[in-house]
């Protein structure tokens, strides 16, 4: 009896330390599921608005003519569709967001090269901040979900290859491609916000789905760049 007491105390101490270390393992992450979810929803809603990035880009690149605007907005770059996102499990969904936003981040960074001075286009930096914020929150939410599910569910998506830009040869097509990409990004974030809004208040519920099918569906949505029709390869764009 006397031996059991220290053992129990030791066990509880170890568990406490484990939990503490787990908590410390995610510095800066909120442990509140609700808070994270609301932040993600808010950020997604903010970035959904084309006025935050695509519209200023069109203005700066003189694409805000009737024909070119139409060409840009009617053929946005293919991001995973809302149905595909909805079909994913929460963890896969978060993973997909992270992957896609990683590419967006890379592309936004490349967009800077299109300007003489980035001070003339402050929306680029704002977009970078927001994307970074969303990715951080996605990371934290992912950590929360994994902790609650105990077992790590392997994520089955890898969207990295899907969004790699086609070689855009000339500046005109690069402008249009960038515009379509930004338009698709806003649309994607709108879908993300709507999927987040469907998440329940509870942390426990997690959808089961067929991510492969979803990704297959999404992959079909991608649009091949018209620039491939050019007679010969032109200068490679920064991305």
């Amino acid at each position: 009896m006397q031996a059991q007491f220290p053992q129990k105390t030791l066990l509880s101490l170890v568990l406490s330390l484990l939990l503490l270390s787990a908590a410390l393992a995610m510095p800066g992450c909120s442990s509140s599921y609700q808070m994270l979810l609301s932040q993600l929803q808010r950020l997604a809603n903010d970035t959904e608005d084309p006025r935050s990035l695509a519209e200023p880009y069109m203005h700066h690149q003189s694409l805000n003519t009737t024909t070119l605007r139409k060409s840009c907005t009617e053929h946005p770059a293919a991001f995973p569709s809302e149905d595909a996102l909805r079909a994913l499990s929460k963890l896969d969904f978060l993973h997909t967001i992270d992957t896609m936003l990683g590419q967006v981040q890379h592309r936004v960074e490349a967009l800077k090269q299109q300007f003489v001075r980035t001070q003339n286009f402050p929306q680029l930096e704002n977009a970078e901040y927001k994307i970074r914020g969303i990715r951080n929150n996605v990371y934290c939410m992912s950590w929360l979900l994994r902790r609650s599910q105990k077992t790590l569910e392997p994520t089955q998506t890898s969207s990295r290859a899907l969004l790699s830009p086609a070689p855009t040869s000339d500046t005109f097509q690069a402008k249009l491609d960038s515009c379509r990409f930004l338009w698709g990004y806003h649309s994607f974030m709108g879908s993300v916000g709507r999927v987040f809004s469907e998440w329940g208040d509870s942390l426990s519920r997690s959808r089961r789905h067929s991510p492969r099918r979803a990704l297959h569906k999404r992959a079909h949505g991608f649009r091949h760049s018209r620039s491939s029709q050019r007679p010969m390869p032109r200068s490679q764009l920064p991305w």
């Binding site: 070119l68 300007f115 500046t171 005109f172 007679p231 010969m232």
Partner: protein, 971 residues
Amino acid sequence: MAFSVVLQKAFLLALLSLRAYQNEVFDEPIQLVPEVQNVSTSSKPQQVNLQWTVPNLAHHQELKMMLQIEISRIKTSNVIQVVNYTTTVKWNQVMHWNWKPDIPLECVKYFLRIRGMVDDDKFLLQSSWSNWSSWQEAHIPVSLEPNTVLVFPEDPLVEEGSNITICSVYGRNQHNVSCYLQEKPIPGEQLDSHVSIFNLNNVVFFRDTGTNFFCNSIDTKLEDGIVLFVSKVLEEPKNFSCETQDFKTLNCIWEPGVDTALAWKQQPPQNYTLFESFSGRRKLCNKSSCDWQITDDSQEIYNFTLIAKNYLRTRSVSVSFHLTHRVYLKAPHNVSLEIINTTKAHMTWKVHSRGNDYTLLCQIELLCEKEVIHEHNVSVHMSGDYLFNDLDPDTEYKASVRCADATHFWKWSNWAEKTFSTPEAAPSEALDVWRIVRSKNGSRIVTLFWKPLSKSRANGKILFYNIVAENQDKPAKSKHCSIPAPASDTQLTLDQSSYKLHITANNSVGMSPETILVLSRESGNQEVVEKRINGTKDGFLISWEPRSRDVISYIVDWCAHSQNQLCDLQWKNLGPNTTSTIISSDAFKPGVRYNFRIFEIPVQGPVYLVEKQTGYTQELAPLESPEVLTSNLTSHSFTLSWQGYASQFQAGFIQGYRVYLKSKEMHCHSGWDKVLLSDNSVCCNYDIKDPKQKIFTVENLRPESDYEFSVRSYTSVGENQNATFMMVTTPDEHSHMLLKTMLPMSLCVLLIMVVCYWKSQWVKETCYPDIPNPSKSSILSPIKYMQNPHLTIMNVKDCIPDVLEVINKAEGTKTLYTGAGKLHAENVTKLPPVPTEKDSCGPVPCIFFENFTYDQLAFDSDSHGHVPGPLKDILCQLGPLTPPKNLLNVLGNSNMKSLTGSPTEETSLIYVSQLASPTCGDKDSLTTNLPRPVHCSEYKMQMAVPPSLASPALSKNSDLSSMILLGKGEP
């Protein structure tokens, strides 16, 4: 010398041998045919590069040739350009020639061929053009799908204002292709079935991200485009100059002009390179300045070329100078100031000089309150100094110094500054003092005013003002007071003695020279007539007649004339020979009257008031309208008065008043004018030209009429517009008379009524004494009886009955009631009609029985036993619900009982009033008069009737009736 002669001969020999060789070799005209090695094209930039050689040249031969290149477009016969140029060709050397096509190489094919001709002085024989080389094709092929639209050239870079041709190529399925520059449709020129060209002339800069040119097919909705990058024209750098501060570094600066950078890395910002021709050094600079290190101390002359360059243009500007002529010294250092006294300071400084051999020019400035008050130049070598004189005490100064090379002036150095302050000194000027003297209760109230000393005269902060009133008659009564600053006036109460006032201003160092004012016994303020003057916006011209010749000075003082007693007195000192002056002040306002007084300050005697003048800088229309009171209103006139109107405080001299009168019949009487007002209403106007007249009677009015009137004052500018019309109604013509007669009459009547009322009691008591009402007697009050049975017994001795009748049952039946309701004729004087519902409360005279007896029980049976008064009263009170039959039953039935029949009989006695009430409406009298004691003598007759009046017992003991009257307790 011998060597040179030998060399010359050898050269001549060689030349001759060469001529011989030439004549031998080129006996025929020389035919050097250029041979095209290669024709290459590039898309960006659009360019054709032609490589050729002259294969027939001798070994190491080098000669000058003229070349001609022919360029055809689409087909060889379509020559579009012939280019001539001269170059030196060498043996075994591939020559290059570049050409920029006007239409992009992707859209059309070009053909080139070349021929040459020797154009070298070494060949004396006439040469001719060689044969043409074969045609070479220059073209960039594109793979064109049937549904494709392509635009060329790709991302062209052009300078603003230049021309460019853009072409579009489309597949065979494309027919309706439209092209746009941004949103502007650009008409094209069809080159062939699938190529169009678009000429853009004088292109303008739109945005550094380029101008979009695109074509789209209406059929397939496909579009392709290019971005036309238009660069601003590179400007030549302006104001390029170089200078040194330390002979170690040359700092060159310039104004770069517009930035020609373009986005998408199409063109970086223009770069600037500094090139020095003597040293041959070159340095890449930043946008607007460059630091050039002086590496060679011996180099004194520099020739700089600044080269600005972008992808499209190069600009350069040069400057050449001697180094010592471009010395921009550093600011002097170690500046120090030594304060010598209140007016002197000594400044020293050091300069950055190359040595005592160099003379520098230094400029010294002294600033006071940001204004340069002193400037001086001095020559120095290594250090300098300067003495500032005539400084003001207690003043802050800023001393500045800058230097430049005195021999070759290039540029002043920056200023080196030092701030210092001089110490305080005693005020240097006497105060300017003036006074107002008023008499009050035998004393003189002297208000002294003084103007604060200017900063330059105060020489420090004025702490207080000393005033010594020296009594000239009684020196022991002198007064002294000290007024702390910043006061500018004070008041003294002095007696009628002569005084000499000494006024000084004091600071921490000392006092100012004193100002002396003399107050004589005589006031000198004799009455003078006030004169009106006209001012202008520049002020007032005041002039006066001098009174005497022994005058020290004149003083003109003035004040705004306002109802406010406080006055900001101003004055001006004038010389003795002055007889006029212009008084101007920023404080003068239009519409304000200013009063001026001119005083003479004599050598001896009191200050003398010479003149009083008053005026306005600009008169305005009156701002206030008179407040008019009406009086003496009659049917034909009324009087207006505005005595309280302060005409002297108006915005101009009041010249009179205008009375306006409106009425329905717009008939203006004599003296009145008909005028049209600003609101287009018509009224009569009477002009009162005397501004002192403030009363006016409006006459010739109609009785019982409404009139509107208004009184407006006016000045030379006009009348006040704020006045409103007031209404007055004239009374009836007769009402006045009526009032005169009716009022006294009414008063008389009222007096009579008062007298009558006062005497009414007497008259009443005399003529119509009050008749007491028994029912109102407290003694007989049944209420009180009910409440207090002891009071129901009337004391016999209080009443004097005139008849007493005892009724027996048998006899009473016969005597009192006969048959059907006939009363005994002896007892009944008049039988009233039986009241009906209709007339129960009518104004019928209620003269009832004198002696009447009835039984209380009969009333009790019908709950009407309480009969406090006469029957008529009872009937009136009961109204229609009170049948008289009860009474008749009492009389007719055998309800009369013996007095002994009941133990309560004694309390059932009822007294019937022997007086008739004049009316039946006096219901209240029953209760109101109840407590009043009534004199029993006023009862004619009354009796008590026991309830058992008709009982047999009563007949047997008829004697008992007298006992009842004695009442209870009296057996």
